[in-house]
């Protein structure tokens, strides 16, 4: 009787422990994602000031290249150069094969649906997206539409034309685990305002 009970207790403690570790890890990644953005905001301020790439922490394998803000949703994010494979853990990352945001062509920026880009689904056609480039230039984009595409066949042609954005996150939004589909928000440039002075 005693042994049976002890076994049940041990099993329960093990379950509890595993649950806390696993859940804790998930929470930790979310905390890390949030914290990274705080550090990145600071690195970004310095980037704008010095006009040079600045790393947010010494061993970072990536650096901020632009800042996105979504006035209507009161959200913002620092976009990272996707130099290594880890950038997405810390912020939305620029897909290297595409132009930089604000340059001619379609700049593709991807973010995790469960962290930095969880609000992308709330964007509506006509919403403004403000981009600050590393040169300190502010460019306003407006959402023109959205699409659900396959990751391996996005149909996005990055080259040519006026500056455009494609913000990408996993789809469906509430599903769990890795998925082949992506939700893409398309936006086009409205105006290029003057250089932000700091």
């Amino acid at each position: 009787m005693i042994t049976k009970q002890r076994m049940a207790v041990s099993a329960a403690i093990l379950l509890l422990f595993c649950g806390v570790v696993l859940g804790g890890h998930g929470l930790y990644i979310r905390a890390k994602a949030a914290l990274a953005q705080v550090l990145l905001e600071r690195a970004w301020a310095e980037t704008i000031e010095t006009r040079r790439p600045v790393k947010a922490w010494a061993w970072a394998d990536t650096w901020p290249i632009a800042r996105l803000s979504f006035p209507k949703l009161h959200r913002s994010a620092i976009v990272l150069e996707q130099a290594g494979g880890e950038a997405l853990a810390f912020g939305p990352a620029h897909v290297a094969a595409t132009p930089l945001p604000g340059e001619n062509g379609t700049s593709v920026i991807a973010g995790h649906r469960d962290t930095h880009f969880n609000f992308i689904k709330d964007l509506k056609v006509g919403d403004e997206i403000e981009v600050t480039t590393r040169a300190g230039k502010a460019v306003t984009f407006r959402m023109t539409g959205s699409a659900i595409v396959h990751a391996q066949a996005s149909g996005i042609d990055a080259t040519g034309g006026t500056p455009r954005l494609a913000l990408v996150t996993c789809y469906p939004f509430d599903a769990i685990g890795q998925a082949p589909l992506r939700y893409v928000v398309f936006a086009e440039e409205v105006s290029a305002a003057a250089v932000v002075s700091r």
Partner: protein, 745 residues
């Protein structure tokens, strides 16, 4: 060898990721407990030392793109090469065997960029599958590519040999099955080089990473829409095809090569030497020698073999013939008499151009500096000189050429000694600067430009066209430096610049090679060379025949219907006329002479492009010769396709660019920047400029193409939190349950 490398690379990468994860975890904790100032203090010093990754993004140094995620190359096919060459008289016939081994569980395509001698006439391709051989066919480039791509898509094994540059080729092999090996054989021939009494054969084994100058965007300002790119001029339109990924040597060397050369000469051979590789030499008799590498070596530097003829030395004239379908092809090698008159030393204006870009870092810059200092010491009173150095910037030491007096030489010596190698290789502006001639009518001095560079750039067309346009009275001499120079560019700068070229492959060779060069600089020993004949059908190449410098023979190929008659060669030695007559009937058999003639013709016609010839005319002629003689060229490729498909329809094929070694003696960080994170690097160009290349307005969503590949965008936290919560809840329920039962009992 490769297995070692793979596991080492993988474990390094793994350790690094672990460290990175541990690092960020520590950062999170530290910030949580100590506040963020600690991180900040931590960050500042690192940024000033090694925090930066040198990329074009950051506007410094060489231009780079990362191609693959770290470690991904591990899945790429592996390569082994065997080279077997037979040299009969002056003709070398080579067979290159490339074994593509697929270590992965997937179907793959391997794309390998490899070098061949700049005058190699590639005429044969064989693909070995199991115990069958499939012969390749020469087709027009576009057609060959279509055949290959269709076969690749339908699951057939196929291979395609394309010329990217006269000395750089691509071998694409499609549908290599899991753990399968596909063997591809390529054959070419060339004439061996003769300089003085020394024959030499150069087999390049690696393409040095080429610097591709960025595209220039022409911008117009229209008041309504602001600045707009109206046109883009790209000096390297095919940049993606000429920049294979390069493995950082700290991860080891790949692509093992075995090589053997059999020399068959009609007379006894002497002084056989391989200056850069350890070899075994066996001599069945004194007219034959077999030279083979001592064990496999990594493909990371040119193989060179030199030899001499014993006894009476090089015959004054030799003539070889091959007759095909009633047409006779000739190869003539004529050594002009030497030592009859020492040419009078003319005063000169010498412009020395030294490449101090990143690819020269290490041994190469030491060799180049030593050679240049030696050249400066050779200047005589009365000469004028200048020094130009270039990387992606340019310095012209003196505003104009200055007298070679002690004062100026001292300045120049100090300047050269202080040179360091870093940055991109912008050879074109340097060449333009060197060709600026402020006294074009000064006939008291020879104007000679001496270029010291590895020539590892991919805008050869742009550079050579400039020579065709603005050579003037200048003469260009090139000194190819280092273990894997771009010999095509070196040779053709000299040909179009009416000068001569020299290779320096090690510091020990500097003295000997530069002494040879100084002899050549004295002035050409033979000018105004031409063929006179009463045979109207005789077609000789090259045409015109270049001037000869000390030690150089006339190498001439001809085609005619006749097997008798004569070929008369006329020229001028200084002011004295010179001529010699070759009796066609005396020619000895030479297999492959017809292909040498065709290859020589293609080369000569291609050079006309740089001298303002109509591109359409050039293309038509090159295409005809290449198809008639079954040769790979800029416009023709070799393609072979298996007869039955091998890849099942439901399996996909992954494409891999095969990594290449960094040439021996190069400094990886000086070419690709300080980025130990990535074992593979690809020299390329500013991505921002590339996107501007397509000026036309395309729809954002083009359903016809696959478009940009999108990354995984789920961090997996929702699942973890959900599962974690469920597990913890289950644990709690069980715990509470057992407690209650315990209390009850």
């Amino acid at each position: 060898m490769s297995t070692n490398l793979v596991s080492r690379g993988r474990s390094l990468e793994w350790t690094r990721q672990l460290l990175r994860r541990a690092g960020i975890a520590a950062a999170v904790l530290m910030t949580a407990f100590l506040g963020s100032s600690a991180i900040r203090a931590d960050t500042t010093p690192a940024r000033t030392t090694s925090g930066y990754v040198t990329t074009s993004e950051m506007g410094t140094g060489s231009l780079l793109l990362k191609t693959t995620e770290p470690g991904q190359y591990l899945e790429a096919p592996r390569l082994k090469t065997d080279v077997a060459i037979t040299v009969t008289g002056p003709i070398a016939r080579a067979r290159i065997t490339q074994r593509f081994e697929n270590p992965s569980d997937k179907w793959v395509e391997g794309i390998y960029v490899f070098p061949l001698p700049q005058n190699a006439g590639v005429d044969t391709l064989k693909m070995q599958i199991g115990d069958r051989y499939l012969e390749g066919q020469v087709k027009e480039r576009e057609q060959a590519r279509q055949i290959y791509e269709r076969a690749a898509a339908q699951g057939y094994k196929a291979t395609l040999i394309e010329q990217q540059r006269p000395n750089m080729f691509t071998n694409s092999v499609a549908n290599i099955g899991p753990h399968e090996t596909v063997v591809v054989q390529i054959e070419y021939q060339e004439a061996v080089r003769l300089d003085g009494d020394k024959f030499s054969l150069r087999v390049p084994l690696v393409v040095g990473p080429r610097y591709s100058p960025p595209a220039e965007a022409l911008v117009a300002d229209s008041s309504s829409s602001g600045m707009q790119v109206v046109a883009v001029h790209d000096p390297v339109p095919d940049r993606d095809s000429v920049t294979p990924p390069v493995i950082n040597p700290i991860f080891g060397k790949i692509n093992p090569v075995t090589l053997s050369v059999t020399l068959k000469s009609g007379v006894s051979l002497a002084a056989i030497e391989s200056p850069y590789h350890d070899v075994d030499i066996s001599r069945p008799d004194d007219k034959t020698a077999t030279v083979s590498l001592k064990g496999p070596v990594p493909a990371d530097r040119d193989f060179v073999l030199n030899w001499k003829l014993a006894a009476n030395g090089v015959p004054q004239a030799s003539l070889f013939r091959e007759t095909i379908d009633g047409k006779s092809y000739y190869l003539a090698m004529v050594v002009p008499p030497v030592g009859t008159t020492t040419p009078h030393r003319q005063t000169r204006e010498a412009i020395f151009v030294i490449d101090n870009s990143g690819s020269m870092a290490g041994e190469s810059i030491r060799q180049a500096k030593k050679a240049l200092l030696m050249a400066l010491s050779e200047l005589k009173p009365g000469d004028r000189f200048n020094v130009i150095r270039f990387d992606n910037t340019l310095t012209v030491l003196f505003q104009d050429a200055v007298p070679a007096d002690a004062e100026h030489l001292l300045v120049a010596n100090r300047y050269v000694q202080g040179l360091d190698a870093a940055g991109g290789t912008e050879i074109y502006p340097a060449l333009k600067a060197a060709l600026v001639d402020t006294t074009p009518n000064d006939d008291t001095r020879l104007r000679q430009v001496v270029f010291l560079t590895d020539g590892d750039v991919s805008n050869e067309d742009q550079v050579l066209a400039e020579i065709g346009k603005s050579l003037g009275r200048s003469r260009l001499f090139t000194v190819g430096i280092g273990s894997a120079p771009n010999s095509f560019l070196m040779e053709h700068i000299a040909t179009l610049g009416r000068g001569s070229f020299t290779h320096i492959g090690s510091e020990a060779e500097v003295d000997a090679r530069m002494t040879e060069l100084f002899n050549k600089l004295e002035s050409p020993v033979m000018t105004d060379l031409r063929v006179t004949t009463n045979d109207a059908k005789l077609e000789t190449w090259p045409n015109p025949i270049p001037d000869l410098y000390a030690g150089e023979p006339v190498v001439l190929t001809g085609a005619t219907d006749e097997t008798t008659g004569s070929l008369r060669l006329e020229g001028r030695m200084g002011k004295k006329p010179w001529s010699t007559t070759l009796d066609l009937a005396s020619a000895v058999d030479g297999r492959g002479v017809s292909k040498l003639w065709a290859r020589s013709k293609i080369s000569a016609i291609e050079d006309l492009r740089y001298q303002g010839a109509n591109q359409g005319d050039v293309d038509a002629q090159v295409l005809k010769v290449a198809l008639d003689f079954h040769l790979v060229s800029r416009l023709t490729s070799l393609v072979a396709v298996d007869i039955t498909p091998s890849r099942p329809e439901h399996e996909d094929m992954e494409s891999h660019e095969m990594p290449t070694n960094l040439p021996a003696g190069w400094d990886f960080s000086k070419v690709f920047g300080e980025d130990p994170e990535h074992p593979l690097m690809k020299a390329s160009v500013d991505p921002a400029l590339l996107t501007k290349l397509a000026a036309n307005d395309k729809p954002v969503v083009a359903s016809a193409t696959d478009g940009v590949q999108l990354p995984q965008t789920d961090a997996g936290t929702t699942l973890q939190i959900l599962l974690g919560t469920l597990l913890a809840l289950a644990g709690l329920v069980v715990l509470v349950g057992t407690r209650k039962r315990a209390v009850r009992s």
